[in-house]
Amino acid sequence: MSGHETFIAQHSFIELTARERARALLDAGTFRELIGPFDRLESPWLAMQNVVCQADDGAVIARGTLGGEAAVIAAIEPAFQGGSIGEVSGAKIAAALEMAVREFEAGRKILPVILFETGGVRLQEANLGLAVIAEIQAGIVALRRYVPVIGVIGGMVGCFGGMSLAAALCTRLIMTRQARLGMNGPEVIEQEAGVEELDSHDRRLIWSMIGGEQRAAVGLVDTLVEDDTDQVLDAVLGAFKSGVPASHRTEQVDAQLERLARVDPSAIDPVVLRTLWQGEV
């Protein structure tokens, strides 16, 4: 296939809504949404701050099958409040993970996938957003003892704040080059530490630091994919095939401290880091 034909044959994953993403990954005809928009479980906190609610609160939970096996997908909708995590949207994700743990406790198997697209805590629900992110994290750590928990960071919002920790807890992470993964958004760093620390308008610099290509090159995500739904699906299925690893990235304390010890804070940049951390983890 020529470059042009390859390009035309791709079906963008990023352009899909959360619901469409979940539907596109699940086996055809198996998508079944849980607590969908007609359940009308909305945020109890937005209206009192004059913010318009959304009937699914920006999180889509779907069951179905993946490659013929039972699966559950939690997908975050970037178009509602920047994919931010409120009490209800977060509780939907946490509850799905908790139910998946119960499946294994009952001797049944289910494949969990989280589609990240989030700036982190929804500011209008501050402490409840933070609390529910802790519950999501607890769910991932409990569940990944039984089965790989696979995270996909699609773009264009990326994955930030407390949810970047949730992503890091996933067994395997798949990311597009358009997506970014970081704890503090560039604007927050500029705000807190000054423009000399980071110029949040310097897009080339930001993607060179926290974009998908760099994250894959230094071993902070596992698989880099093009913005193509088939590639995302192949990567998800492949990630499950590898099974639960002997240790997760967040358990490799000595190895990670050793990696960090190799870094000279006064002379580190994205290019140097690639040579220091190339091809590891």
Binding site: Q124, V141, A168, T250, L257, L273
Partner: protein, 275 residues
């Protein structure tokens, strides 16, 4: 430099009298020691300012790259020591963390992963049967609290000046929401999860106990005794309950203020299996 709240309470609970003379054997940003608590031994862990940290944005009591991984190491050392024990020792996370470290190097080098290592270690200790208690004695902010404390079986807090749980610092939140700091206080009185007051946080049903009337900066014997009694009660309660975080949805406050969180669980269970 005055000792940080985390250091003060670490010293108070571990009888670390050498603190004023520079804390022999305890270098860097993490303090960890075992000490008697009631008729058991608990492991105490806190984060302190680290003026000589090689990462310049991580010299305060914040969770940066090294802090996250060293926290994980401290917690995992306790887990390893108790690997074959039938009764796992309690772990007390003394929480006094201003924020995660905000910096360009931190993002490049994956501070999200370092903080996740803290989350993982505490959550894994809890799942292994260690009663994990968070004792909030200072700020418990955002990602730093996620990494150090929010995975605890039980959370207890002092109610004193300078103690707050929140997703974002007050000044930053005022800027982002285009409100004055006073306007933010007014909003917090109307919208409970937005409040910076511990009395409001206590109503969310996430806290096991809010301890009032403690001298947080210079605790006397009586203050320390009260906090120790609360820790012992929280440990006993945690040992009786499940190892997940479901206790946070049980209280009367949780049922009232976080009714939506409970409703989501109920409907998820109802709809989980196809009709």
């Amino acid at each position: 430099m005055n000792a940080s709240r985390g250091q003060i309470w670490f010293d108070a609970l571990t009888s670390n009298e050498g603190a004023a003379s520079g804390n022999e054997g305890q270098e860097g940003p993490i303090r960890n020691a075992d000490a008697p608590l009631g008729n058991t031994t608990a492991s105490f862990i806190t984060i302190v300012p680290d003026p000589h940290n090689r990462f310049p944005r991580a010299t305060d009591n914040v969770v940066g790259l090294e802090q996250g991984w060293l926290l994980a190491r401290a917690v995992r050392n306790v887990m390893d020591a108790d690997r074959d024990a039938s009764v796992k020792r309690p772990i007390v996370a003394i929480v006094d963390v201003k924020s995660q470290a905000y910096g360009r190097r931190e993002e490049l080098l994956g501070v999200h992963l370092a903080c996740a290592a803290g989350v993982d270690a505490y959550a894994s200790a809890r799942l292994a049967g260690h009663p994990v208690i968070a004792l909030i004695v200072g700020p418990a902010m955002s990602g730093a609290f996620l990494a150090h404390g929010y995975q605890a079986n039980r959370i207890i807090a002092l109610d004193a000046d300078g103690i707050a749980v929140h997703a974002m610092g007050k000044e930053a939140a005022a800027r982002v929401t285009r409100r004055s700091v006073e306007g933010l206080d007014e909003l917090g009185d109307r919208v409970l999860p937005m409040s910076y007051k511990m009395s409001a946080y206590a109503k969310l049903g996430l806290l096991h106990e809010l301890i009032e009337g403690i001298n947080a900066d210079a605790p006397g014997r009586e203050d320390i005794d009260r906090v120790q009694s609360s820790l012992i009660a929280a440990i006993d309660d945690a040992r009786k309950g499940p190892r997940d975080l479901s206790s946070r949805l049980q209280s009367a406050d949780a049922k009232r203020i976080r009714a939506a969180s409970i409703e989501v669980r109920k409907r998820m269970a109802e709809q989980w299996d196809a009709p």
